[in-house]
Each structure stands twice: as structure tokens, then as C-alpha cells.
């Protein structure tokens, strides 16, 4: 099966979930796949840095948390309009991304991993210190984001299709980005940064732009997660969460556009299926991750034949 067919099958499958859930009388599937799609968005945003810019962010859960808290804190003060919550969350994440990125993208390799980890921890401790908004115990959100009379997110199916639409929109945007001038410059930086500098490109600025876009995308997954779970907690921002998002992108295959979607889906479905049989599914998942690293350097996506190129 070529990659194009698999990608199409995935998208058709996601679109069919509400219908199947209704036929089987399993409304829970909507929540499950909604969560999967949300983590697809997070993994895509991390992969923008990972696959495009070549930077390993170990702190992306902070942006997910910022989005989630934008919904939670607004709702706490009775501001339930999504027209306020969402731009606020996205702007906050963009600002945080700008500040964190301005400091972090100067560094490379291991140092970049460590500084994003440090910032992730800083934001996590801020959130867990916000006891007014639940801290580590979390806070229930009474009403989902309201969009006037246009979209009613209280309806689980509507929310699911909104999540799917946003995921697809991001896929398209990333595809366009990779073919834009900005995307070309970023790909050049990943391949050889000093050469790009010699060509006169301000590489720092381009990497920062990549970081801010990635942060903004990730915050959208947070906005959606808070709406899906009706809950926000500092636990959304732990370093383990950042690690999981990174693992999703890697398992799927970071050198591709669609890989993170496969990775997030595979990982969360694995967790779902095996946790039905045993509480100890992590004992199986751990060695699988090791095997994937050892024997599938391009992730699950890399196993599929490429329709355009003979080898990749």
C-alpha cells in the first residue's frame, strides 16, 4: 500500500468514526478518537520543529497547557465565548513561544533539548502553583467554548468534526509551508545552517518563526483538549507529556508530513486496546519503542513504500 492510500484511509476512517460509533452504540469512541486527533495536532506541531527545523523540543506540553488554561481560566470568570477564549489562548501561546524561542533557538542539539525542558518545567510549576484554578488537582470547566449560535461544541459530534477539520487544516498548512519560501529556508537551515548564513539568511529569525508557529499550533490542541475533557489541570504540562508528544512524532516518522498522525494514532490506540486487558501495558510499549528506534529509524511511516520515490 502506498503512502497516499494509507493517508487517505486514515482520513476517511477518522471521518467515519461518528457514524461507526452511532451504529455500534459506542459514543465513547467519539471521545477516544477526539483525543487521538488532538494529540495528532500536538504531534504535528512538535514535528514542525523536529522534522522541518531539526530542533528537539522537550517542553511542548507548555503550549498545550497554555491553550487549555485559556479556556479554563476564561470559563472560570464566566467568559464562555470562544471568540474571546481562542484568540486569547493562541496569542498567549504565541507570546510565550516568542519569549521562550528567542532564548532557546540560539542553542542547538542537547542544549536546546535541555532549555526547552527547563522552560516546560517553569510553566508546569506556575500552573501547579495556580491553586485558584485547580493546580495539580485540576478544575472542571462548566461550559465549552461558545461560538454565538454558529457552532455548538456541547454536541460531541460537532466538537469531533471541528477537531478533525482543524487537524486537516493544519496538515494542509504544513504542506503549503513546506513548499513556501519560508519552508525552503527552514529546510536549508536543517541541512546546513552555516551555509544558509553564508548565503545571507538570518537563520536565527527563521528558526524563531518556526518555533512560534509550532507553539501556536500546539496551543490549539490545548484549546480543543480542554473542550473535549471539560477539564484543565497542570498535569497537561508535565515533562512526561512533552516526552509522549515527541514519541508520537518519532514513532510515526518525523521526516514526513503525515507520520505524526500515524504515530499519535498508533500509540493512543495501543494504550487503549492493551489497557483493556492489563494495567501493565507500558511494560509492552516500552520495549516496542526501543525496537522501533533500533530497527525502524524512519518510524512506522517509513515502512510504507513511497509512491513518488523508489527509496526514502
Amino acid at each position: 500500500m502506498s503512502r497516499k492510500i494509507v493517508a487517505t484511509l486514515f482520513i476517511v476512517g477518522f471521518a467515519a468514526v461518528p457514524v461507526i460509533a452511532k451504529l455500534l452504540g459506542q459514543p465513547y469512541y467519539l471521545t477516544l478518537f477526539g483525543r487521538i486527533l488532538i494529540y495528532c495536532i500536538s504531534a504535528l506541531s512538535v514535528n514542525l520543529l523536529l522534522g522541518f527545523v531539526g530542533l528537539v523540543s522537550f517542553g511542548h506540553a507548555m503550549f498545550l497547557g497554555i491553550g487549555a488554561y485559556a479556556v479554563g481560566i476564561c470559563a472560570y470568570y464566566g467568559i464562555e465565548s470562544g471568540f474571546v477564549q481562542w484568540p486569547l489562548g493562541i496569542a498567549a501561546a504565541a507570546l510565550a513561544g516568542l519569549i521562550v524561542g528567542a532564548i532557546s533557538v540560539r542553542l542547538t542539539g542537547l542544549y536546546f533539548i535541555m532549555i526547552t525542558l527547563a522552560f516546560g518545567q517553569l510553566f508546569y510549576f506556575v500552573a501547579s502553583g495556580l491553586t485558584l484554578y485547580g493546580g495539580d488537582d485540576g478544575m472542571t470547566i462548566d461550559a465549552r467554548s461558545g461560538f454565538g449560535g454558529y457552532v455548538n461544541l456541547g454536541n460531541q459530534t460537532t466538537l469531533y468534526y471541528l477537531i478533525l477539520a482543524i487537524m486537516l487544516l493544519f496538515l494542509v498548512l504544513l504542506h503549503r509551508l513546506s513548499r513556501s519560501r519560508l519552508g525552503m529556508v527552514i529546510a536549508g537551515i536543517r541541512a546546513n545552517e552555516s551555509r544558509m548564513q553564508a548565503l545571507g539568511f538570518p537563520t536565527y529569525r527563521y528558526k524563531l518563526i518556526g518555533f512560534v508557529i509550532s507553539a501556536t499550533m500546539c496551543s490549539v490542541s490545548g484549546l480543543l483538549l480542554a473542550n473535549l475533557t471539560d477539564f484543565v489541570t497542570a498535569q497537561y504540562m508535565t515533562w512526561q507529556r512533552s516526552g509522549e508528544i515527541l514519541v508520537m512524532a518519532l514513532v510515526g516518522g518525523m521526516s514526513s508530513l503525515f507520520g505524526p498522525v500515524i504515530g499519535a494514532t498508533a500509540l493512543l490506540l495501543f494504550e487503549e486496546v492493551f489497557s483493556a486487558y492489563t494495567d501493565h501495558w507500558a511494560v509492552i510499549l516500552g520495549p516496542i519503542l526501543v525496537l522501533i528506534v533500533l530497527y525502524m529509524p524512519h518510524g512506522l511511516w517509513g515502512l510504507l513504500p513511497d509512491s513518488k520515490k523508489a527509496s526514502s
Binding site: I103, R106, L117, V126, L132, W281, A282, L285, G286, V290
Partner: protein, 305 residues
């Protein structure tokens, strides 16, 4: 004053534990450029083994040996099964594989020892308290931990700075390619360092067991602290690890006591209660961020140390 002395001792004790953890990790990072997120698992496994062995043998020495030996054995096994195959790969592969190992070990101890965590007893002959200075009463066990840590740390430092084996390790840390060109077998060296690092992490876990909750995931927070230490000290630098361990241990411990007091006396209570836990936890990350911005190679970079 007494309180300050007690907290300083607590801080030094955390610092010593952090040094035992970071010594092996920083060398593996420095020599092989390998990121090991599973280092905290060695700490955890040793703590479990120590608690269980002590329960059955009632011998502090036997449980200590068993703990260190188990951490060493797991370390060597991990090196053979996966780590040495990953040296040629990038940091991402290291992070992903060792993240998987951590998942495995955290769940494995839950299967073996149960989900609730277990209790590690302080041996009776170390259970009391002692007055080390007028008015300064301190638990004997913590004092012993501090002592063992300092002795091990000094011994390790002596080995690394004074012996031929240590010279090879340092050579590998400052310039791997050059050391290899001089005839050092880098693979053997890194396997030895990896195993020794795991054993040291095991020693830290064994000593920490009676003072913390022995439970699944207990290695994760200390792993993160260890990574902070390594970055602050300078990757691959043993001297940096010594300095940074003590700085992080003391600053973190003193910060937890004095920041809430300072904030509590200046700001209204409600604000202080919300602010101080966050601020105290953030302190060392703020230091690390500052170091990365202003001295990205760490306080004592490996090539000069």
C-alpha cells in the same frame, strides 16, 4: 542559625546524591554524546532491591551490596541490549529509546512489587539522632548518607583525576576522536563508564530509599534534577558535576525554606501561598536557564577541566 545549619546539611546531602547520579551520566554524555533518560531507573531499581533485601536479611551492608550490584547488572544489560547500538544515532533516537526503557522499568517494578510502593526501613543502629553541635540535632542516618556520599565522591574524583584509568576517561570526555586515535577503545570505555554510572546511581538509590517513598517513577524527578546539574556544570565535566550538584542541592533545599519565609513576610498571605511553591520549584530551572543563556558550556566546561 541552627535551622540554617540543618538545612545546609540537608542541601549538601541532596547535593551528594545528585553528584552520585550525575557522575556517570555526565561522562556517558561527554564521551559518547549519549542521552540516557533511563538513568533514574537504576536509582529506582536499587531502592526497591535495597528495601526488599533489607526486609529479609536485616543487614544494611548486604542490602547495599545487593542494590549496587543490581543497578550495575541492569546497567550492563541495558548497554548490551540497546545503548551500544545507538551510539551512532542522533539524540532523538537516544531520547526515544531510553524513554521506552523508563516506561518499561517503571511498569516492571509495579508488576513485581505492586502499585502502592514499599517501605524501606532505617537500620536500628542508624535510627537515632545526634547532637553534632550545641543545639544542632541531626538524624544519624542522614549524617551517614552524607559521609558515604562524600567519601564515594572524593574516591571517584581521585580515580578520575589521579589514575591512568581516570585519565583515559577524561581524555574520552574532552575529545573522543582524539582519544580513539591515541589507542583508547572507546566502546569498552563507554561500556565501563555506563556500568559504573549505573552502580553509582544504584548507590544513591540505596541510600535514598529510607528517606523517600520507594515507588514506581521515583527515579524520574531525580533524573530531571540530574540533567539540570549536568547542564549547569558543563556536559562531560566531572568537576562541573561536583560544583553544580552542591549548588543545586543547597540552593534547592534552602530555597524551599527561605523563599516562602521571605515572600510570606512581604506579601499578603493569600498571594504568598499561591506564589511560593511555584517559585521554590522554579528556582533551579531559572538558574539553569540563566546558565544556558550566558554560559552555554556550563560553569566548568569539560575541555578545560
Amino acid at each position: 542559625m541552627t535551622q540554617f545549619a540543618t538545612q545546609l546539611l540537608n542541601g549538601l546531602q541532596l547535593g551528594v546524591a545528585l553528584f552520585l547520579m550525575s557522575a556517570g551520566l555526565t561522562l556517558v554524555l561527554g564521551i559518547m554524546n549519549f542521552v540516557n533518560l533511563a538513568h533514574g531507573s537504576f536509582f529506582m531499581i536499587a531502592a526497591y532491591v535495597a528495601a526488599t533485601t533489607y526486609k529479609y536479611t536485616q543487614s544494611f551492608v548486604v542490602s547495599g551490596l545487593a542494590a549496587v550490584a543490581s543497578a550495575f547488572a541492569v546497567g550492563v544489560a541495558v548497554d548490551i541490549i540497546c545503548v551500544r547500538k545507538l551510539y551512532d544515532r542522533d539524540h532523538l533516537a537516544h531520547v526515544l529509546a531510553t524513554f521506552g526503557l523508563t516506561l518499561f522499568f517503571n511498569e516492571a517494578v509495579r508488576i513485581i512489587w505492586g502499585p502502592a510502593g514499599i517501605f524501606a526501613a532505617v537500620p536500628p543502629f542508624l535510627a537515632g539522632q545526634v547532637e553534632i553541635a550545641p543545639g544542632l540535632i541531626y538524624p544519624v542516618y542522614r549524617l551517614v548518607v552524607l559521609g558515604v556520599g562524600v567519601v564515594t565522591g572524593l574516591g571517584l574524583y581521585g580515580v578520575i583525576v589521579k589514575t591512568r584509568a581516570g585519565m583515559i576517561v577524561r581524555a574520552g570526555g574532552s575529545d573522543r576522536m582524539m582519544a580513539a586515535a591515541m589507542g583508547v577503545n572507546i566502546r569498552t570505555l563507554s561500556a565501563a563508564v555506563f556500568g559504573a554510572g549505573a552502580a553509582l546511581a544504584g548507590l544513591a538509590g540505596f541510600m535514598a530509599a529510607p528517606m523517600v517513598a520507594v515507588q514506581s517513577g521515583m527515579g524520574d524527578p531525580i533524573l530531571i534534577l540530574t540533567l539540570v546539574v549536568i547542564v549547569i556544570g558543563g556536559i562531560g565535566s566531572v568537576r562541573g558535576a561536583v560544583l553544580a550538584s552542591l549548588v543545586v542541592g543547597v540552593v534547592d533545599t534552602l530555597g524551599r525554606v527561605y523563599i516562602p519565609m521571605a515572600i510570606g513576610s512581604t506579601l499578603p498571605r493569600a498571594v504568598a501561598d499561591a506564589l511560593s511553591p511555584a517559585l521554590t520549584s522554579m528556582l533551579i530551572y531559572l538558574i539553569m536557564t540563566a546558565i544556558l543563556v550566558f554560559k552555554p558550556r556550563g560553569l566548568l566546561p569539560a575541555s578545560t577541566g
